[in-house]
Amino acid sequence: MENFAYHTPASVADAAKLLDAHEDAKLMSGGMTLLPTLKQRLAAPSDLIDLAKIPDIKGVCRDGDELVIGAMTTHAEVHENALVRELIPGLASLAGQIGDPAVRHRGTIGGSCANADPAADYPAGTLGHGATFVTNKRKIAADDFFLGLFETALEPGEIIVGVRFPIPVWSHYQKLRHPASGYAVVGVLVAQTKSGVHVAVTGAGPSAFRATAMEEALTKDFSVKAIEGIKIDAADLNNDIHASSDYRAHVVTVLAKRAVAAR
């Protein structure tokens, strides 16, 4: 990889200043996507701003009816955290299905969401739970965050500080895991939340989305039968060597049914 200047700011404000000062700078959290990208020379930032030394953006705490997960909290920490396991076990399970154990020891929720890989698990986790991203500038609802392929609502100089998850009544994640990469060929999170039933889909389209027809059907009748006949339009889905768009559309319904059956 090309060389770069390396920075370890001690605060989010300092990280933001560095981002502003260096036009070609990139933020690094766990580096599980960024470092392979640099190795392949798909990116060559002038400066890497490592967020690892910022103390107050990692860990999990409860704030009323929400769990607040710091952006630098690793997948392993979310998976093993007692609060997450007690209050949002569906999210703890999702975090434990990302990548492999060594990747889960480094990769973070903030990094995964900011990268917005179409096959990453956390986009479904955040959309499905109706989470809110807290940045150094504002709050962004998950519904407004994922805009497209590797595209988010984050502006230049904006840094995810944490993610707030409303504690659901119940949630469950089902994933068809790509056997080599560990990414989701399709992943579906179904949640019963205080604002209704959410069905969030990742892996299937250019970015994670909510299956609104399934949500409406499950709101009326929370049963496997209610969504049996509902199929996502394959025309909007990914079609690649791993799976055709028709197959992905089929698997979305299968996984949604399995998730509902787990209730």
């Binding site: 990889m1 090309e2 060389n3 770069f4 200047a5 390396y6 580096g31 599980m32 470092l35 392979p36 640099l38 190795k39 890497l48 490592d50 690892a52 392993a76 990548g99 492999d100 154990p101 060594a102 990747v103 020891h105 480094r106 080599a180 560990g182």
Partner: protein, 160 residues
């Protein structure tokens, strides 16, 4: 521009000067001459470069040396006792013939120790799932899985 890095490797304080882009595995192998840690795929997939950073298994090909500053690293060379007594996971790999060519073995043993710590009395399904990030191209995994299950039971039972 070179950057000073300081860390502990296998209990010994080490330091060196590296480029920002120097990988942790390059620092371990080329600067510290600890060549037990292997580079297989160099793309975070095969796990041959697995080491422990502050007690957790990570792939040292996907971490910068500068990111390891101030941390405690354990490599395959640091597992056995100074008198040569093997770590229970190493002993179990020997016992169950959990290797063939040996290239993946340092990573398998390091991730095996991590698995045993997190999963006392691990069953076969757990071990196979936890080996997701480590690839072996000759054994078919059977001996590796048996070795880690055996070591996990022995470590949980306090026999080792």
């Amino acid at each position: 521009m070179l950057i000073n890095v300081n860390m502990t490797i296998n209990g010994k304080a080490v330091s060196g000067q590296v480029e920002a882009r120097t990988l942790l595995v390059e620092f371990i192998r080329d600067h510290q001459r600890l060549t037990g840690t292997h580079v297989g795929c160099d793309t975070t997939q095969c796990g041959c470069c697995t080491v422990h950073v502050d007690g957790k298994a990570v792939k040292s090909c996907t971490m910068l040396a500068v990111q390891a500053t101030g941390k405690s690293i354990i490599t395959i060379e640091g597992l056995a006792q100074p008198d040569g007594t093997l770590h229970p996971v190493q002993e179990a790999f020997r016992e169950h013939h959990g290797l063939q060519c040996g290239f993946c073995t340092p990573g398998m043993v390091m991730v095996g120790v991590d698995i045993c710590r997190r999963h006392p009395n691990a069953d076969e399904h757990t071990v196979r799932q936890e080996l997701e990030g480590n690839i072996c191209r000759c054994t078919g995994y059977q001996g590796i899985v048996e070795a880690i299950m055996d070591a996990s039971a022995k470590m949980a039972g306090g026999k080792a």
